[in-house]
């Protein structure tokens, strides 16, 4: 099976503190991989390195067999924890922006998703709540026909109904030719959709298994296994 993402022996330190320690895992095509760990375990740091937001101290990250570059950025659709949109823009202007820079941006799909939210295209981001801005970001990210979707804590800090909306949006817009790498500490919410689990603790990978196999072998949910393991 072709790997869309390969993280090979990657390490990262901030000063004396090693936050990612010799981490290796891969994301095969067509799979949803959950990078699961407690807060501060190094999940976001790994995603930042995948997206060229942090330099890699040691090791190598390959996306579709290529090192992280301008070319690979066109293949990856990244949803960070933070709201990264220019608040002075309207929703329409953010759609224009994505259309200008990402050739794989599907405007119709974005419009449909926006209609589901009941949002006005001319609404200004500055006047929206944080939760609403996060939903707009999710719409933008999932409206790209990217090869790899990298979602950092998409369920963090949102109410249960919004979680459902986010999960539905992710599943509805994920194609067989693409893969998803999702990080979260809310394991019970994502466990139904993930194919492969990667447990991370103190910057180290402590388990990397097929989700179904793991459930059958341990006769427990991923959430329970995580609580026992980490």
């Amino acid at each position: 099976m072709t790997d869309l993402l390969s993280v090979k022996n990657v390490s990262k330190s901030f000063g004396d503190k090693k936050v990612v320690d010799d981490v290796s895992f891969s994301v095969p095509k067509g799979k949803i991989v959950g990078l699961l760990g407690k807060n501060g375990s190094g999940k976001t740091t790994i995603l930042k390195m995948i997206n060229d937001l942090l330099t890699v101290d040691q090791g190598e990250i390959l996306i579709c067999g290529q090192k992280v570059s301008t070319k690979t950025k066109a293949l990856v659709s990244f949803l960070p924890e933070r709201t990264y949109l220019n608040p002075t823009l309207t929703v329409k202007q953010t759609f224009d922006f994505f259309e200008d820079f990402y050739s794989d941006f599907d405007r119709e799909k974005a419009q449909d998703l926006l209609n589901d939210l009941g949002l006005d295209l001319n609404a200004r981001l500055a006047k929206m709540s944080k939760g609403m801005k996060e939903k707009i970001q999710l719409v933008l990210v999932m409206s790209r026909r990217a090869s790899l979707y990298v979602l950092d804590e998409p369920l963090g800090g949102v109410d249960p109904s919004t979680r459902d909306y986010i999960m539905q949006t992710i599943l509805k817009n994920f194609g067989e030719e693409s893969s998803i790498l999702i990080t979260t500490h809310l394991i019970s919410d994502v466990e139904k959709i993930i194919d492969q689990v990667v447990f991370i603790d103190n910057g180290k990978i402590i388990l990397n298994r097929d989700a179904e196999e793991l459930r059958e072998e341990q006769n427990a949910s991923i959430d329970e296994i995580f609580r026992r393991t980490v």
Partner: protein, 261 residues
């Protein structure tokens, strides 16, 4: 892609400034209108108040231009918005050049608005004659026309602005290679770079003047024509070289990778 980046950067930087431009020009127009009216005490007072407001507007435009340029640079590259900027499928060089070019365009527009506002208030045939006379008197000893002097001055200021913007961007990028106290490091690096380019330009001017036999003219009570010419050429070449160096160095720093919070 550079064209698209430029479009968004330029829009972002001028979004607020455009209102400041309008207010300043309108204030200048009102000042002019009031000054054309009756010379009674009340009108004179209103005229002076409006004139003061226009000058405040001009200062506001100039200060805000630099605040906006640096603010946009920092928020786009190192704050929350950097999560989008650095994940765009465009090269670091394009990102950097887009900021440099749009910044220069914004500075040019701001300066034009300020000059226009001053002209709206003060323009008259007598004012222009006086201004021309003042410039001619200043450059008389250098065997230079008023037009030539203005052209040289504008070119020098433009080149210097390019160097200072490139320098400020480099200092900010350099400061963000540190894990903490980035504002402090930014200010320290700006001071270091500015001192370095000033010293280099002065030393080079002295060397070139000495080699061309104009050293005495450089330190004379009134600078000689030869020394002035040498200094202008050296400083111009110096600023161009420094701009190229800062662009190259900041691009190199960027290509090494960023460490966004």
């Amino acid at each position: 892609m550079l064209k698209k980046l430029l479009k968004y950067d330029f829009k972002r930087m001028t979004r607020i400034l455009v209102y400041m431009y309008a207010i300043t020009v309108v204030l200048a127009g009102l000042t002019r209108l009031v000054n054309l009216g009756n010379k009674i005490q009340f009108v004179l007072i209103i005229g002076k108040i409006l004139e003061g407001c226009t000058f405040a507007g001009i200062v506001n435009v100039l200060v805000n231009t630099f605040v906006h340029i640096l603010g946009t640079f920092i928020s786009n590259f190192f704050k929350d918005e950097s999560y989008l900027t650095h994940t765009l499928p465009v090269s670091k060089t394009q990102l950097l050049f887009s900021k440099l070019i749009s910044s220069l365009l914004v500075i040019i527009i701001s300066v034009v608005v300020c000059i226009l506002s001053l002209f709206i208030i003060f323009y008259s045939p007598e004012f222009m004659t006086g201004l021309k006379g003042f410039i001619e008197m200043t450059v008389a000893s250098f065997n230079m026309s008023a037009g030539g002097f203005v052209a040289v001055l504008v070119t020098l200021l433009f080149i210097q602005t390019c160097a200072l913007i490139a320098m400020a961007f480099t200092a900010i990028i350099k400061a963000n290679t540190y894990n903490e106290k980035r504002i402090l490091y930014g200010l320290i690096w700006m001071f270091i770079y500015y001192t370095a380019i000033s010293v280099i330009n002065i030393v080079l001017s002295v060397i070139v003047c000495a080699l061309s036999g104009n050293l005495a003219g450089l330190f004379a009570e009134q600078i000689s024509q030869g020394a002035l010419l040498c200094t202008i050429i050296v400083i111009s070449v110096g600023y161009v070289a420094e701009t190229i160096f800062f662009c190259y160095y900041s691009n190199k720093l960027f290509k090494k990778g960023v460490n966004v919070d």
